[in-house]
């Protein structure tokens, strides 16, 4: 069976969920061969094997942390040469897309970004994309070279599918470009203890209606009662009420959870672009005319300062 390269996104050996989803999709096309780079690369093998990786190619070198993107492209290209895969799948993070793009140029192949689904087809893998702020769904494929496809989080379910997961050391020689962009300092994000925004099953977001940073704990309390991640509109972020890493929308994160709750958000097209593919959508807004209500499965027209605390309290009560 044809092999499919899967680029592994991990933090010091802990595999992030979108990579496991990629393994589910990769198995529809062929036999997954994972590529894990950097600190803790070999520690990813057990998890990857559980989810279907036949092989795990690993390599660690200081270059991965000290320089931007290109060392990883060099390594992925080395894996590509070693395996001759039927397709290369990469998680659709900002960095993932850049790695995939540069690989595509090097191997003279087409690239598709932000797939939300992937099937095998007669002429190679067929990717589903959601475009124009999710107003359209398209089906695309790569028509030249080996398909390089980046896939968004939540595109598939994580499935257990035990495979060999044999670890092999990847041989990488870095290109001249590898050391072009130096990372001179790195400040890791502080963990909030809440789920990762793009991976969360439930997201609760606050917008300009929240009225100030001092009121965001109301949104956070609702999120915590549901085990949800917290999001924010750009208006709330620009006002300095919530960090930019939590922004949902075109220039923030794109989320596709089972449940999205928008509080004090009007539903501008750029916000919708980042949340419209959520399965169930709920909104609380005091303006009955707000465009967000066009999207909702359930909407409450009311003051969020009344509705949200009551909702949180009722959820806590039902949990018992």
């Amino acid at each position: 069976m044809a092999e499919v390269l899967v680029y592994v996104d991990h933090v010091d050996g802990a595999v992030r969920k979108p990579t496991l989803e990629l393994l589910t999709l990769a198995r529809r096309i062929g036999e997954p061969v994972a590529v894990a780079l950097g600190n803790g690369a070999a520690d990813t093998a057990a998890t990857l094997a559980e989810h279907g990786a036949a092989k795990v190619l690993t390599h660690d070198a200081p270059e991965y942390a000290d320089y931007l993107v290109v060392p990883k492209v060099d390594a992925l290209q080395a894996a590509y040469k070693a395996v001759s895969p039927a397709a290369v799948l990469v998680p659709s993070s900002a960095e993932g897309k850049e790695i995939a793009a540069r690989l595509a140029v090097r191997i003279d192949s087409g690239i598709i970004t932000d797939a939300i689904d992937l099937e095998s087809g007669d002429e190679g893998p067929v990717a589903t994309q959601s475009v124009f702020a999710a107003a359209f769904t398209t089906k695309s494929r790569v028509s030249k070279g080996t398909p390089v496809i980046t896939v968004k989080p939540n595109a598939a379910a994580v499935e257990a599918a035990p495979a060999a997961g044999a670890v092999e050391a990847l041989e990488v020689s870095f290109s001249e470009q590898a050391t072009g962009t130096k990372v001179t300092a790195r400040t890791p994000r502080e963990s909030t203890g809440r789920p990762e925004l793009t991976e969360a099953a439930i997201v609760v977001s606050g917008g300009r209606g929240v009225g100030g940073a001092e009121n965001f704990p109301i949104v956070e309390a609702l999120a915590d009662s549901l085990g949800a991640a917290v999001g924010a509109s750009r208006a709330a972020v620009d006002a300095g009420w919530y960090p930019h890493t939590n922004q949902v929308g075109q220039t923030g994160k794109s989320v596709s959870p089972q449940l999205y709750i928008a509080t004090g958000i009007s539903g501008a097209i750029q916000h919708r672009a980042g949340m419209q593919t959520s399965k169930t959508i709920v909104a609380i807004n005091k303006d009955a005319e707000a465009p967000i209500f066009d999207l909702v499965d359930y909407g409450v027209v009311g003051d969020l300062f009344e509705v949200v605390p009551q909702l949180t309290e009722e959820i806590e009560a039902r949990k018992g």
């Binding site: 290109v70 540069r102 690239i111 769904t137 790569v142 072009g180 909407g299 409450v300």
Partner: protein, 261 residues
């Protein structure tokens, strides 16, 4: 020596309009007004600020796009860029990301550059890969997705706020940079700027000028194919209740019914 900055700007259909596909499944540019991608205004703004700090700098704005894309160039010129290059050719219709990066790379090289500045993503394609593709093709460092950028003594520095960390980056020129919408509000063109823009030079190049064959680009030359596009079915109208004091409880009941609680 003068610092040569090239800003890549895209002419896109207005996101608040009713965007559609044409019959050949390319973006329909006829029914919706076009404009300079808002995210590329941030790139123009940073170019202007970098030029202000430099002893001597020249900003060229570059676009690959149809006839009307000149509007985007005019806007950038009225913000303060010095000159413009418009790559226009009927054979470019349907070009994908790899093709566009090929054309931009040739045009940037022909223009001459020390620093290329891009937006974080186009507001229609939203791929966000062009800057990386361009850096790969040009063989120069990529310093991308910056929320802060500066240039000094032939070195570009910037801050990249990533998913797991915030990073300080540094590279020697020539380089390709992209900036996010966190990099600072873009200025509005002044009346004087708008008047001045009318006299600024706009150079037009076609594929031949760039020594690119027609079959390397366009729909035919594309590395990807779109086989179908379907409009997302309108969401079935949801339940909307007015809060009469029990709105939170009603919503909780809905969430429980859907097994979220």
């Amino acid at each position: 020596m003068s610092l040569r900055i090239v800003v890549c700007v895209k002419y896109v259909p207005d996101a608040t309009g009713d965007r559609h596909f044409a019959e050949d499944l390319t973006v329909d540019r006829d029914d919706v007004d076009g404009l300079l991608s808002e995210l590329d205004e941030y790139a123009v703004e940073q170019a202007l600020q970098i030029a202000d700090e430099a002893d001597d700098a020249e900003i060229t704005v570059l676009t690959v796009g149809p006839e009307d894309a000149k509007d985007a160039l005019r806007k950038a010129l009225s913000m303060g860029a010095d000159k413009a290059v418009h790559v226009e050719d009927d054979d470019l219709h349907g070009t994908d990301a790899l093709g566009t990066s090929l054309v931009l790379a040739k045009a940037v090289e022909k223009t001459g550059y020390d620093l290329v500045i891009c937006g974080m993503a186009s507001t229609d394609g939203t791929m966000g890969v062009l800057p990386a593709l361009l850096a790969e093709r040009l063989g120069v460092p990529q310093v991308t997705l910056l929320s802060e950028v500066s240039v000094e003594d032939g070195v570009v520095k910037g801050r990249r706020d990533g998913d797991t960390a915030s990073e300080q980056l540094e590279a020697s020129l020539p380089a390709v940079v992209s900036v996010t919408d966190q990099s600072g509000e873009a200025r509005y063109p002044s009346f004087k700027g708008i008047m001045a823009a009318k006299k600024k030079p706009v150079t037009s190049w076609d594929l031949e000028d760039l020594e690119i064959e027609a079959d390397e680009v366009g729909l035919e030359g594309a590395w990807t194919a779109v086989d179908g596009a379907t409009e997302r079915p309108a969401r079935t109208a949801g339940t909307i209740v007015k809060d009469e004091g029990e709105g939170g409880k009603q919503l909780a009941a809905f969430l429980a019914e859907r097994k979220f609680v």
